[in-house]
């Protein structure tokens, strides 16, 4: 399992891309998607919603459990991934690519985001 170097990570297993024009993409990591098992339902925030770093902003439902989705940043939602709403298994098959969850115009980041290497150490520990 490799965590893309260009992303940053939360301890709650979300990944965050570097902002382009102030907008970052958020998803969950492969480690998290493996732990969840087959994801069957995702509830995402809506475009225009304000999310807050470290707070829940949705749900990921797998065969066996429901997990809260946390936002690693504070900001306004600019886009949600409708493809993953229609086909939640994208979270399992392509967590870093087609399985991204939402885009957010960042006003503030969580202050303890990790690098790929730090995240790898976090999940190993």
């Amino acid at each position: 399992m490799s965590n893309p170097q260009q992303l940053r990570y939360s301890k709650e297993h979300e990944w965050l891309s570097d902002a382009e024009d102030g907008v970052s993409t958020v998803g969950i990591t492969e480690h998290a998607s493996n732990a969840l098992g087959d994801v069957v339902f995702v509830q995402l925030p809506e475009v225009g919603d304000t999310v807050t770093a470290g707070e829940t902003c949705g749900e990921l439902e797998s065969t066996k459990s429901v997990s809260d989705l946390y936002s690693p940043v504070t900001g306004e939602i600019t886009e949600v991934n409708e493809a993953v709403v229609d086909d939640p298994s994208l979270v399992n098959t392509a967590p870093f690519e087609g399985g991204w969850l939402f885009k957010v115009r960042v006003t503030q980041e969580q202050d303890d985001l990790l690098s790929a290497d730090e995240y790898a150490a976090h999940i190993a520990g």
Binding site: G37, V40, E61, T63, K64, V66, N92
Partner: protein
């Protein structure tokens, strides 16, 4: 939770080499899934799947009064089970509450194998030992004597047939026989918990790995895959089969669970729980208890055990098991609901999913029945 180390089956190293995700189940470290639980589920429905069920609790009951003991200890008419046949039954408390649901195999005139759920194995063993007082019969803890491997799915008879001379065509559902499979002596039973045709093989633990490998090899051409407990749960849920701790428990009698038919009042002699169960039967007759029904989601949110079933803002029942159904492609659940709302097609029923009332259709169980 107990802090004692998890028990491991004879197949533990094999599961790890297959990359299984392991989980704590009733004190055992068991495979939850090997890859995708959905793929494993569909393999059992369309091809074949292999399960390690070595955590189940085996208890041997032998002796001149083995049948009298079991008739006394369990609610079923065990002495009427033919040699080589099996019976689904229950063990109840004096107050009628269900201690466990069981499968009892009659191996000989005076020999039975009682198979209990892993979580209840000790409770059942203790109850049988206690209830054996005064009977000329021996109750033996055989949990360490057996590994249990199940092969389930439409291709299972073909796969198994390539490894044994046993007469599988002559082996009926809920029957068992002594056989040799891949050179290993086993008790071979046509039973299972998936809603599919299939077999359960009780073997000595030292033979488990060889047996598993032989079945894996023989099944590879038809698409047999190893399967974990996760898909076992969705398979049994689709098949409408109760699970102890969900649909069954000590707070319910068999009549409350809609399984009063397993209680045989007409059998000879007294049995533990009889008086309470007579009352429970009368109560159920006069004042129908909640009914176990199926619920099918109109949306995609999954009902979980313990979620309230609602009608017009009122709670009318409770979900006992719920999961996305790989076969139906929609979330399904079993739930106990008040009798007036239990009729299939009853409109307006919903499940309170974390505060939101999601619409559900009431259906008869099972959700899935295999075509024979």
């Amino acid at each position: 939770m107990s802090s004692s180390p998890l028990r491991r089956t004879a197949l533990d190293a094999l599961h790890r080499s297959l990359g299984a995700t392991m989980t704590d189940f009733a004190g055992w470290d068991m495979p939850l899934r090997y890859g995708s639980e959905r793929d494993e589920h569909l393999a059992v429905r369309t091809k074949a799947g292999l399960f390690d069920l070595s955590h189940m609790g085996e208890i041997t009951v032998t002796g001149p009064e083995a049948n009298r003991l079991l008739d006394h200890a369990l609610v079923g008419n065990i002495s009427s089970v033919g040699v080589g046949r099996a019976r689904y039954t229950m063990i109840c408390r004096e107050d009628g509450g269900i201690l466990d649901d069981l499968i009892v195999y009659r191996l000989g005139e005076r020999e039975y194998l009682v198979v209990a759920n892993a979580s209840n194995a000790q409770v059942v063993l203790d109850a049988l030992v206690e209830r054996a007082t005064g009977f000329d019969a021996e109750v033996r803890d055989d949990r360490d004597a057996y590994a249990l491997i199940a092969i389930q799915g439409p291709e299972s008879a073909g796969v198994l047939g390539s490894l044994t001379d046993a007469d599988l065509d002559g082996l009926k559902y809920y029957a068992g026989l002594s056989a040799t499979v891949a050179g290993v002596p086993v008790l071979l039973a046509r039973t299972g918990y998936t809603g599919e045709d299939g077999f359960e093989l009780f073997a000595a633990p030292e033979h488990a790995e060889g047996l598993w490998r032989a079945l894996t090899e023989a099944g590879a051409p038809v698409g047999l895959v190893p399967c974990g407990l996760s898909c076992r749960d969705t398979l049994r849920l689709e098949a409408g089969m109760p699970l102890y701790g969900h649909e069954l428990g000590t707070s319910l009698t068999p009549f409350d669970a809609g399984l009063g038919r397993v209680v045989k009042f007409e059998k000879e002699g007294d049995f533990v729980g009889r008086a309470a169960l007579v009352e429970a039967a009368e109560r159920a007759e006069k004042n129908p208890p909640r009914v176990l029904v199926g619920l099918v989601a109109e949306g995609r949110r999954v009902p979980r055990a313990g979620y309230p079933v609602v009608f017009g803002g009122e709670v009318i029942g409770e979900v006992t098991s719920g999961a996305p159904s790989p076969t139906l492609g929609r979330p399904i659940a079993m739930a106990y609901v008040d009798a007036p709302h239990s009729v299939p097609g009853t409109p307006g029923v919903g499940v309170d999913i974390r505060g939101k009332h999601e619409p559900y259709e009431v259906v008869a169980l099972p959700f899935y029945k295999r075509q024979k």
